[in-house]
């Protein structure tokens, strides 16, 4: 099968590099085995297992680059893929922004593999679905959900001596529970690298409780409210904002971090003092590969926002050279500092407010201010005197994460949350935020 060990992939990389006649050569070998089970209407709808591998070769003659891939590893196939890449490179136009392959990097291993996750089988997946389905049938509720797990390897090498190999595992579970009459809906998401940190029964119970509590939601007026945002409600908003941290975009005047006259807001205190966001490939909760798969630059721990100040921007190799600074690796994870407080404690400390389970269909309305719009979904509740009083109808919001991270009153304990439309592994805390801007009501349950 598809999960190759370091010895096997090193041999492939060495063969490819030896075959290449180009000025430089970059190889990546990757493979994955992904299993899933999908359920809806209290029954399994689909289940599958997909396996895939590829060797990708990128070569350059001067400033001309070519890329080709193949999924066979015999000598003949490897020669074919190298020649294909070289043929494409000869045909390609010169790229004035071409940057040479990186020099040898030191990749410090990160703990991205769990044997327990790699051992997940169809029974495990079916049981994850069954917990939700059976509990919902008992409670006259309707479950829909998706469990997916993956085991993968990634190897990178180049003609300057770069080499890295690691295995990765991960799982994601989402479950939506609705009442039979469609008047209540609850949701849960759990992500884990290690299957022993995943409890399907606990997850299903959260969605069930939210569904039962959300029936007969009241309408309250849109406006600015103190909100307690669960991690799934803020993770995508923060993820959207991170695209503005690109140094080139900022220097060119096309980011919320650009200033009048061409300067950037690097060093400015743009957020609340409590806001600390960093990336760290070795974080034990959300470890990621210690290299950036695009540039092969070794990842490091980087404080992106420190005590509310913009502390670092992302520099591509090209822009770093132009600006005379060190290029950076693209972050693979985002970690936001929190406290030990639970969401329940945040609720208990709130006189009047709104609890938001998750946000949905978030889109950038204005890149100048990072104004985002989207909606709440699957569990929105009114809080009074430290207690959830009643469910309320969903809202549309128009809010900037920059403003949101300025209006923080209290932060809770970070939890692991995988991205949906944002490609980061994240550890994000629940937050209490004042003046969050809800602009209209939605009838959707």
């Amino acid at each position: 099968m598809t999960i190759l060990n370091q010895e096997q992939t090193k041999r492939i990389c060495e063969r490819v590099l030896a075959l290449s006649k180009a000025d430089e050569c970059i190889v990546s070998v990757g493979g994955s085995r992904e299993g899933n089970i999908r359920f809806a209407r209290n029954a399994v709808s689909t289940a599958g297992l997909a396996e895939n591998t590829a060797v990708t070769v990128q070569v350059a003659f001067g400033k001309r680059q070519g890329t080709a891939s193949i999924n066979e590893y015999d000598d003949k196939s490897l020669e074919k893929v190298v020649r294909r890449a070289e043929d494409l490179a000869r045909l390609a136009p010169e790229n004035p922004e071409f940057m040479p392959a990186v020099a040898k990097q030191a990749y410090k291993e990160s703990a991205t593999f769990s044997a327990k996750t790699a051992a997940i089988d169809p029974e495990f997946r079916a049981q994850a679905a069954a917990y939700a389905i059976e509990a919902c049938r008992k409670n006259k509720l309707v479950a829909a959900g998706f469990f997916t797990d993956s085991t993968a390897f990634s190897t990178v090498a180049n003609s300057n001596g770069v080499f890295g190999h690691q295995q990765q595992t991960g799982l994601d579970f989402t479950c939506t529970v609705r009442t039979e009459d469609g008047r209540g809906s609850g949701w849960v998401k759990r992500s884990a690298l290690d299957a022993s940190r995943f409890d399907a029964r606990e997850a299903a119970d959260v969605a069930i409780e939210k569904a039962l509590r959300s029936v007969d939601a009241k309408a309250i007026e849109p406006g600015r409210y103190t909100v307690i945002l669960e991690p799934a409600a803020t993770s995508e908003l923060i993820g959207f904002m991170m695209s503005g941290f690109d140094a080139r975009q900022t220097d060119e005047g096309r980011s919320f971090l650009s200033k009048k006259g061409g300067a950037s807001r690097l060093g400015d205190k743009l957020f609340d003092q409590q806001v600390n966001i960093w990336t760290d490939p070795w974080n034990p909760d959300v470890p990621v590969l210690p290299w950036d798969a695009q540039s092969l630059i070794a990842r490091e721990r980087v404080d992106i926002i420190k005590d509310g100040k913009v502390n670092a921007l992302d520099y591509s190799q090209y822009w770093a050279k132009k600006k005379g600074v060190k290029p950076t690796a693209t972050p693979g994870n985002l970690i936001m500092a929190g406290t030990n407080k639970s969401t329940a404690e945040l609720i208990a400390n709130t006189k009047k407010g709104i609890l938001v389970t998750r946000t949905w269909y978030i889109r950038l309305v204005d890149p100048q201010s990072v104004l985002l719009t989207g909606l709440t979904r699957d569990g929105t509740f009114y809080i009074e005197n430290g207690k959830i009083k009643y469910p309320i109808k969903n809202f549309r919001f128009n809010e900037s994460p920059v403003t949101m991270l300025n209006n923080i009153e209290e932060i809770g304990k970070p939890v692991i949350i995988g991205g949906d439309e944002v490609a980061y592994q994240m550890a994000i805390p629940p937050m209490k935020v004042r003046d969050f801007n809800f602009t209209s009501l939605s009838d959707a349950v």
């Binding site: 899933n36 359920f39 809806a40 209407r41 029954a43 709808s45 689909t46 289940a47 599958g48 997909a50 895939n52 990708t56 990128q58 890329t67 080709a68 891939s69 294909r84 494409l88 390609a92 136009p93 790229n95 922004e97 071409f98 940057m99 169809p122 389905i133 309707v142 829909a144 479950c175 939506t176 609705r178 469609g182 949701w187 060119e252 005047g253 096309r254 200033k259 009048k260 006259g261 695009q294 269909y361 889109r363 950038l364 309305v365 204005d366 100048q368 201010s369 719009t373 989207g374 909606l375 979904r377 549309r396 128009n398 900037s400 920059v402 403003t403 300025n406 602009t439 009838d443 959707a444």
Partner: protein
């Protein structure tokens, strides 16, 4: 949901290796070499035979070869050229009343037979939790047939150099006209899809699609303000002749504020206009929020149709199969059964179809081997039907499927996807300029902007690319910071005028996402310029610290 796939694809900044691909990168000379139909038939027969022997009551086999080419340019540089290929076989079966699916990229008899047996085993395992057996609407086997996108110029045979030069010329035109930065991309898709089923169909299809999105950004460094204007031209289901523009392909927008395209595209002219208008946006008037009569060009309305009509009338959403991801729908079965649910005003008529030449959804047969057709979804403002696949047709009393089954890859299972969903043209003669004459206080909106809608498709907020004030029957100054908010049913009931057939044209969504694991599909949506009275407009301008 209109997913952000394009944003991810377009985000690469240097080198083809950075572009996420739907397959393996291949050399251009291999693109024009399809697998023999007889070999595909033999493989399909092997899979179906193995499935039957393992206990399947039904089996379909999809043998796919998906060829894509992406070219990305920024300003005067080509940043990446990537050819990709993905080939393999997907086998879907029904056994013990349940579905099973398995796929393999090994195109050998042993591998496809194994996949078929694996699919049967999965079906039998799933049957344990099944509440009711799968019921398929009948499809008469069509024997050995073929269908291809009608095109005059094959994108695969056009030299990469010519394409890159065209994109660079567009970028240069935009920069010369006032843009500070330009991007132009070219997405080219060829899906070679072979379908066979135990109903007796062997269908060979060759499908082509193109999209050339551009984007102009103007920056005023003194004020720190920046604004962008994306292209207004649609993605299409046709060949490279899309770029052989003739005068009759150009459509003048109301008041002459833009040039629009139908049947052919002048990307350089469009880029020049985009550069000029991106610069103009920097000094456009910020809108006063309030109620306006909106005049929406098809280049804006298509995505509103997609989100507020296309998605809520998907029967799998209505039934709850998407509840955990894209959501359910307000168009519940009781509303359809009542035969009186007022989806829109009397002049609102929507149909679904996968037959319009040049559209993204046009195919001869869907991914269940069902011949494509046209049908009404909303007639005279009333919800009359949904979009269904073979296993859903009986739920709404239909005797045959609507042909709405689609999978984006041989390795993914097919399921219900949106066809082209379009608003019929108005019956009375009316041009966009004539429509504007009747508007006292309104806004004319062109192009797709920021789009967001709730999971049951009630509450939406949509933007655009270009906004022009309409005052006392005349188009006036450019506006900025505009978004319109409404509830789907209120919005379509506020539809008061639709321009006639002369103005009808299609735009489309190239990367529409749905399902878990998520799959993308492409569909077109047609309309004429349409007016909606008294719609809430908000001002989206904000200042941050």
């Amino acid at each position: 949901m209109e997913r952000r796939t394009f944003i991810k694809i377009g985000a690469g900044t240097a080198g083809a290796m950075l572009v996420p691909v739907f397959g393996n990168a291949i050399a251009a000379e291999e693109l024009l070499n399809p697998m023999a139909t007889s070999a595909k038939k033999a493989l399909a027969d092997t899979a179906m035979d193995a499935a039957r022997k393992a206990g399947a009551s039904y089996c379909d086999v999809r043998i796919g070869r998906y060829l894509n080419q992406y070219i990305t340019t920024r300003d005067l540089n080509v940043q990446g050229v990537t050819n990709t290929e993905s080939s393999g076989v997907g086998v879907r079966v029904i056994a013990a009343g349940a579905y099973g699916f398995a796929a393999t990229n090994a195109m050998t008899p042993d591998a496809v037979a194994n996949a078929a047996r694996q699919a049967v085993a999965i079906a039998k395992a799933n049957a344990r939790l099944q509440t009711e057996p799968v019921v398929l609407a009948p499809v008469k086997g069509v024997g050995e047939v073929a269908w291809a996108t009608p095109f005059k110029r094959d994108w695969r045979s056009v030299p990469v150099k010519d394409k890159a030069e065209m994109l660079i010329a567009a970028n240069k035109a935009g920069l010369d006209a006032g843009a500070s930065f330009m991007t132009a991309n070219l997405f080219q898709i060829n899906q070679q899809k072979y379908f066979a089923s135990t109903d007796g169909s062997y269908i060979d299809q060759d499908i082509h699609r193109l999209w050339a999105p551009i984007n102009a950004t103007a920056v005023d460094k003194a004020s720190g303000k920046f604004r962008s204007r994306a292209g207004l031209a649609p993605p299409v289901g046709m060949g490279y002749e899309w770029f052989d523009v003739k005068p009759e392909h150009k459509v003048r927008a109301a008041g002459g504020v833009a040039t629009l395209y139908r049947g052919g595209y002048d990307i350089v002219e469009e880029a020049r206009n985009a550069g000029r208008q991106a610069r103009a946006k920097l000094s456009a008037k910020s809108v006063d929020p309030g109620k306006y009569d909106l005049v929406l060009a098809p280049e804006n309305l298509f995505l509103t149709i997609h989100e507020s009509v296309g998605h809520p009338t998907e029967l799998d959403r209505v039934l709850g199969y998407e509840a955990n991801y894209a959501g359910t729908s307000f168009c519940t079965l009781d509303k359809w059964e009542s035969k009186t649910f007022k989806f829109g005003s009397l002049i609102v008529n929507f149909s679904g179809e996968k037959t319009t030449p040049g559209s993204l959804g046009a195919v001869g047969y869907d991914d269940e081997g069902v011949p494509t057709k046209r049908w009404d979804i909303v007639r005279d403002g009333v919800l009359v039907n949904y979009q269904a696949t073979r296993d859903q047709a009986h739920i709404i009393g239909e005797k045959e499927s609507h042909g709405c089954s689609y999978a984006d890859s041989w390795s993914n299972v097919q399921f219900q996807r949106m066809p082209n969903v379009s608003l019929a043209a108005g019956k009375a003669p009316l041009t966009p300029d004539e429509m504007v004459k009747d508007v006292k206080k309104g806004i004319y909106i062109l192009g797709r902007g920021s789009y967001s809608i709730d999971q049951q498709r009630y509450n939406f907020q949509f933007g655009g690319q270009l906004y022009f004030e309409i005052k006392d029957g005349k188009i006036g100054q450019m506006l900025e910071d505009v978004a319109y908010q409404s509830n789907t049913q209120d919005f379509w009931n506020a539809c008061t005028a639709i321009c006639d057939e002369r103005d009808w044209r299609m735009s489309g969504s190239f990367f529409d996402g749905k399902g878990q694991p998520s799959q993308v599909s492409a569909v077109s949506h047609g309309s004429s310029t349409t007016r909606f009275n008294g719609i809430n407009v908000i001002n989206t301008g904000r200042k941050i610290a």
